[in-house]
């Protein structure tokens, strides 16, 4: 795996791969991330509204709670898990099939450092795009909550917006973005590793891509806990 981070053979080829991967991994995930964010944001705010049905608790808490849930946990971890499923299986099978069809050997024969050529652009692309997707998911999640509250008449616009801005700690945002960067690294490196070391035929490629998803999901849950303890406590 050390060879992944070795010297890049040709920078122009490297950057064009990074752009291509950003397009594939990032743009390919925008739609699913947007849909999930809006809907879950809406559900979070409605559930909060139902639970906070007491005159003692101010209504703006709904906006406040939606914001914090979305920023702290939903946008980084849940989106991370969804991307582990989508991107992980995609990368695992792509690199795995390159291995079994000897395309990786062909790269090696030419004198290309195949690990570096295939894997590094994916990792770099994910490190760039995942925080952006996470940020987008936060905005859309809160927007979803807003739309749900306003359209169902649970809350008025000003109260939600007041709540959503109330006692905002920038550190929470940074914490979540740090998580998204770590998760991006976990998803891409585990999936690439699983694909790169496939042995056998197409059946093993399928298994590798499943393992890529399972292992990266579990690692995400584990590191989510570790980072939360380290950064929030």
């Amino acid at each position: 795996m050390g060879r992944t981070f070795g010297r890049v053979d040709k920078w122009s080829a490297f950057w064009s791969s990074v752009i291509r991967e950003i397009d594939k991994l990032g743009m390919g995930s925008i739609v699913i991330v947007s849909i999930i964010s809006v809907f879950i944001g809406a559900v979070i705010s409605i559930q909060l509204a139902v639970q906070i049905d007491s005159p003692l608790i101010p209504k703006f808490t709904i906006g406040f709670g939606t914001r914090d849930t979305v920023i702290l946990e939903f946008s980084s971890t849940v989106i991370g898990l969804i991307l582990a499923g989508k991107v992980g299986s995609n990368i695992g099978s792509e690199i795995g099939s390159m291995r079994v069809s000897e395309q990786i050997d062909a790269l090696e024969i030419m004198g290309v450092n195949s690990a570096n050529y295939l894997i590094l652009p994916k990792i770099v692309a994910a490190l760039i795009i995942n925080p952006i997707l996470t940020l987008m998911s936060m905005i859309l999640g809160i927007l979803g909550g807003y739309i749900a509250c306003i359209s169902s008449g649970l809350l008025d616009s000003d109260t939600f917006i007041f709540g959503a801005q109330y006692y905002f700690k920038p550190w929470h945002l940074y914490y979540s973005l740090i998580k998204s960067i770590v998760f991006a690294f976990i998803i891409t490196s585990i999936s690439c590793y699983k694909g790169y070391y496939v042995e056998g035929g197409s059946e093993e490629v399928g298994k590798a891509s499943t393992k890529a998803v399972v292992n990266s999901s579990i690692s995400i849950l584990f590191w989510n806990l570790i980072l939360t303890v380290l950064l929030l406590l």
Partner: protein, 250 residues
């Protein structure tokens, strides 16, 4: 010239290559023949450095490849062209881009120079109207041609073919064989070919190495095969009844 000296390779307890010694000459088609599972592919992969033999040396015109530093290896590899059994074309790139790939990675050629070289290589292997097609859209024979075009793009000194005829009909096989012979003569390459195609053996076997259960069992050229009294070799070459009858007419 490529030399192998005392190469041994194990996979676990499976002793796949047993003390192989061989020399592969310039400007010739050097054939490695042997039954399925005898170790031909493993030997070829040792030669090109995809596997490292536990003992022995691999010399490319005197340069030791098996123990070279990665910078030296990289240098030697730019003189190597290899055609894999399944072609191993990059399926995210179309035919033209596949052939251009090594040129883009390892030369400072301009776009137009690359285009010219790609077109030359495609012409050389008689590929027409395939520039923009993807590997999934072309036939097995065309894949082999694209792979050959890609392998010769950088004007290699050493050419490797792992079963260039597998999965091809006899006529296409002959065309591919002739192409390999022509290219070898043209660039005076050290060409090494794994095959169990008897046609190829008699068509291009200027130097033949017969591998039997991981050991070099015989070497010579195709004119010497029929005269040989090596039982394993004879059984392998003249396996079919038709060929046995042909042999008896010699």
């Amino acid at each position: 010239m490529i030399e192998v000296k005392n190469a041994n390779k194990h996979f676990g307890t499976n002793h796949v290559l047993k003390d192989i010694n061989a020399t592969f000459e310039d400007g010739k088609c050097n054939l490695i023949i042997g039954r399925s599972g005898s170790g031909k592919t493993v030997l070829m992969k040792c030669l090109v450095g995809l596997f490292t033999p536990e003992t022995g040396e691999i010399l490319y015109d005197g340069r030791d490849f098996a123990h070279a530093t990665s910078a030296e290896k990289k240098k030697i590899r730019q003189d190597i062209g290899m055609v894999f059994q399944g072609g191993a074309l990059f399926d995210s790139l179309n035919c033209e881009e596949n052939i251009a790939f090594p040129l883009k990675m390892f030369t400072k050629m301009t776009r137009t120079e690359i285009k010219e070289r790609v077109n030359y290589c495609m012409d050389r292997v008689n590929l027409v109207n395939a520039n923009k097609l993807f590997p999934s859209e072309i036939s097995g024979g065309m894949k082999k041609r694209v792979a050959i075009a890609r392998a010769i793009a950088l004007k290699p000194k050493y050419l490797f073919f792992d079963e260039p005829n597998s999965g091809l009909d006899p006529q296409t096989s002959i065309v591919i064989d002739e192409l390999i012979i022509e290219i070898t003569k043209e660039i005076n390459a050290t060409t090494i070919i794994n095959t169990h195609d008897m046609n190829s053996v008699f068509e291009m076997g200027e130097r033949i190495i017969y591998i039997f259960k991981g050991e070099k069992n015989w070497e010579g050229d195709f004119t010497q095969i029929a005269k040989s009294d090596n039982k394993e070799l004879i059984d392998f070459i003249f396996a079919s009844n038709l060929l046995k009858r042909v042999k008896d007419t010699f």
